[in-house]
Amino acid sequence: MPKLSLMFDNKIVKEVSVGSRPVTIGRAPDNDLPVDNLAVSNYHAKVYYEAGRMVIEDLNSLNGTFVNDLRIERSTLHDGDNVHIGKHTIKVDTSGDAPLPWQTGRKAAAPRINETMVLDTKERRQMLQQAAAMGESMQFASTRMKVPTLVVLGGKSDQKEYVLTNKLTVIGKSAMATIRLKGWFKPQMAAQINQRDDGYYLGPGDKVPTVNGTPIPGPVRLNNGDMIEVSGVKLNFIFRE
């Protein structure tokens, strides 16, 4: 399968294969190929297959994408090409079969119910009960019922503890922030927490927060007990009973 190798100082840092899904490259950790360097934009470029050829596209990055030292917006990639992003080099290997186009690949995987349909209440209750039973046997469901809470351990804020009820929680000085920071030079929106289906994600606002001491340039999922630090405030993320 064709692949991309991320190189730094002539050493391979990471390899990803290019399949039917596009590969995104950037500084944010949710990219398929994250590149941790300040010269790299959050979503810098993407690589995908089009009509059987590997293509790279720059996502209007600040410092540009270079193929064999030529700055490009969009370019076909060939075996052995070197892509330069910031101080990193990505080696292109197009050997092996080109992946199936997106649609056919997915169709082959599973026959899909194409028409949207709504479950009426009876069927729905049964299905959810089955699902819940499955969840319990896998010991997942129990953690879901707990209340996500941020406990303030240090710094100035308007409360000592916050229960996360909204899909979006803003940490900052703004009058509309859920977690209001006090102090002259605090940012309006220091960071934010987004509730998603699989958990709570902390992402940067005007400041880059740290989770357990590590700075996070893009959204990361919070785990029970994580320590968050942003704009001089220390927060402990926990699931309360």
Partner: protein, 279 residues
């Protein structure tokens, strides 16, 4: 804040009719999107009925501010959020009623995602698996939860996100307008900041275009209509398996400050009320 918005709807590459529907009410800063379902042309009827009902109820706010509030509401919600949530309840009733009265429309329904901006306050009301996102500081934040079986299974920890994306049950909804006489509506309020980008989209986009890609396009393209067109084109490149509808709303800093005279040239390019495109 200044608001510019635009939207595009497209039939896709597989379907023959477009059951999606969207409406931008520029003077109100109201944005409504619906994805219909049901045989023959009935999905189209359902989504259009949903959008029209919501629009009408919100437009009536000026002339009839004391209209009854329906469903569960939080006491601290703004009048707009209460109104928008009520409007979605009304849309459910009108689709349900129409389906009861016309035998051939039985089983029709629609998803609905609506956003109403008043100053810096954003009200969201939502039922189904269309989505609202906010692009802020380079991060794409999801403001709605899908009311689909697979999303519920992810929330309960039974499926991972990756498993849900491969599931053949993706089209099974737990909640939609028109299926029952009364439903539960998700509504929420958020505060907007300058440079935020609000996105409403039907599942025709999110099934085939990944979130980092959506973030990339919204970041790179300052024009809302062109941004929406690019996202639709991307979904069509991936086979366009379903109807695709995208509404992009950009919040810009008011240029009333000291340097506004420097930017005056830029404002001329916009329409009468600062909105570009949309229907």
């Amino acid at each position: 804040m200044r608001i510019v918005s635009g939207g595009v709807t497209d039939v896709g590459r597989v379907r023959t009719n477009n059951e999606d529907c969207f409406r931008i009410v520029a003077p109100l800063n109201l944005f409504v999107l619906a994805d219909g379902m049901g045989g023959e042309a009935h999905g189209e009827i359902a989504s259009a009925l949903a959008v029209e009902t919501v629009m009408k109820h919100c437009l009536d706010a000026e002339t009839n501010p004391a209209a009854r509030v329906l469903g569960k509401v939080e006491p601290n919600w703004s009048a707009n959020t209460k109104r928008l949530s009520t409007a979605v309840h009304l849309a459910n009733r009108s689709i349900f009623k129409s389906a009861q009265e016309h035998m051939e429309q039985h089983g029709m329904g629609a998803t609905l995602t609506a956003a109403w901006i008043d100053g810096t306050k954003l009200s969201i009301a939502h039922v189904g698996d269309s989505r609202a996102y906010l692009l802020r500081g380079g991060n794409l934040l999801q403001l709605t939860r899908d009311h689909s079986l697979v999303a519920e299974q992810v929330r309960r920890g039974i499926l991972t996100i990756a498993e849900a994306e491969e599931s053949e049950m993706q089209s099974v909804l737990l909640r939609a307008l028109g299926a029952q006489p009364e439903i539960e509506v998700d509504a929420e309020e958020h505060t907007l900041f300058p440079r935020d980008v609000l996105l409403l989209c039907s599942d025709g986009l999110t099934r085939v275009v990944t979130e980092p890609e959506i973030a990339g396009v919204l970041q790179a393209e300052p024009d809302p209509v062109r941004g929406a067109e690019e996202l639709v084109a991307l979904a069509n490149e991936r086979g366009g398996p379903d109807n695709i509808t995208v509404v992009v709303v950009r919040l810009l800093k008011d240029s009333k400050g000291w340097f506004s005279w420097l930017r005056r040239g830029e404002r001329k390019n916009l329409g009468a009320n600062g909105n570009a495109g949309g229907n």
